[in-house]
Symmetry: C2
Subunit: 269 residues, 2 copies
């Protein structure tokens, strides 16, 4: 069983609540980690960081940078500039990890878009290192290949990460996105110290909705504990983030969501 | 451009029409190949086979066998028996190819289910060879891993096929299921003479529905021609099957569907 002190509550698991409400709910439940999103940081990420620390919370990661592929060089430059700002925000809010979700392709050429991802990371990795921020490449499920992320396997994420020093670029392993992959255990072992984060949720059958139908741990078919043990065998000892986009869950009060997540974390992770 | 005489019209592309209606529409459009489904063969597949030949149609494949994983040995035996019948039906209707879709797992253990697929194929491969029927393992898109097929990559399909002689077991490459894979071109080259079939459709953005939202060629983001050229470079010269599950398309008359498919085949495949 995973220790509850490793649970990080991703803000979007209570997607309708304000960050302040999520902070309060986490504090009342004794949660120690939180994963905020950029849109919640406003103009002063450092102030939000102080607020989180005052509530006894540590920040496991900031969601999210990435989205490097674009049709023109000027647009790709804008994406890079936005990622440089995201790095500054991560540093200001007090986390050493920026999650990268790596965009759809601007046209049918998915291979070219994958190259743009590598170019984008190369353009920001020095600034990230100077800022004390590591970059976590998160492969999304292949059903998002056309509209959210051209990086859809741990194998591809490993190949990208390995082009950079392991202190700079690694992987975000989210069970919802990778559980189906016959290579998942081999690629987790290959990632080793490059595993920068581990996210849990579940895959409900039948799937209510690709984006908004993620399940709470135990509601679906994912071998969550086996995957958790695999990332630990590969060397990962950090927080375990719960990130669940689910409309019916979002309709519940933040305290109830945090309580349910903590209970299921102990039962299934 | 692919020659129109290689177009095979999968029966389910006109999913609301009877097989007779599909046959007539193909004949009127000069289509030379058809891909029927088992449910349309009734009690006398040989008679259906004669009807198809009389209409000048050749049968590219029969859909479908597979679905080997099951919770008990008795249930797995039933699935194997059903596949032996499917082989007989394929032979009777006049095709040398049975498409295998390889079932969901009976529980969370997807690795065990993948072993059941290999065991199932091993149990039917001799009967298939004696019957002049090859077995085509079709990996489905990973979004179907929990409810339709534990085989979700060409890599896994190749690993399975390679455990059998290449005259017995090969792959069905369907662009809708494999286009997202960063390994797709390497795995197509690896498959070589084991490519037993090539299916085309398209991936619409945003995806209307995982099962029922496939697009006509040209409606989506798949590099169909590049993939067609890749299977040809690997040695495939057989029919190219159009298999599209799409409710609005199904609402149209069979003649219109066949005409539209033929037009888009010449334009995009």
């Amino acid at each position: 069983m995973a220790d509850l002190d490793r649970l990080s509550f991703n803000q979007m698991t209570a997607g309708k609540a304000t960050l302040r409400e999520v902070i309060d709910a986490c504090r009342r439940s004794g949660i120690e980690w939180i994963g905020p999103w950029r849109h919640a940081l406003g103009d002063d990420p450092a102030a939000v960081g102080r607020e989180l620390r005052d509530a006894g919370l540590r920040v496991s990661s900031l969601c999210r940078g990435g989205m490097f592929p674009a049709a023109t060089a000027a647009d790709r430059r804008k994406r890079i500039d936005d990622n440089l700002r995201a790095i500054d925000e991560a540093s200001a809010v007090g986390t050493d990890l920026l999650v990268l979700v790596n965009g759809p392709a601007p046209d049918k050429d998915i291979d070219a878009a994958r190259c743009m991802v590598v170019d984008g990371i190369a353009a920001i990795s020095d600034h990230a290192e100077k800022s004390g921020v590591r970059l976590g490449v998160e492969p999304l499920h292949p059903m998002f290949a056309a509209d959210r992320s051209v990086i859809v396997t741990l194998g591809e994420a490993n190949r990208i990460a390995e082009q950079f020093p392991s202190r700079q670029v690694g992987l975000v392993v989210d069970v919802y996105h990778v559980w189906w992959d016959p290579e998942v255990y081999r690629e987790i072992a290959r990632a080793g110290e490059r595993i920068f984060a581990f996210h849990v949720s579940d895959w409900i059958v039948p799937l209510p909705d690709p984006l908004m139908g993620r399940g709470l741990m135990g509601e679906g078919v994912i071998e969550i504990r086996r995957l958790r043990q695999a990332v630990e065998a590969a060397g990962y000892r950090g927080p375990i983030e719960v990130e669940i986009f689910n409309e019916p869950l979002w309709a519940r009060p933040a305290d109830e969501i945090v309580g349910e997540v903590a209970k299921r974390f102990q039962e299934w992770v």
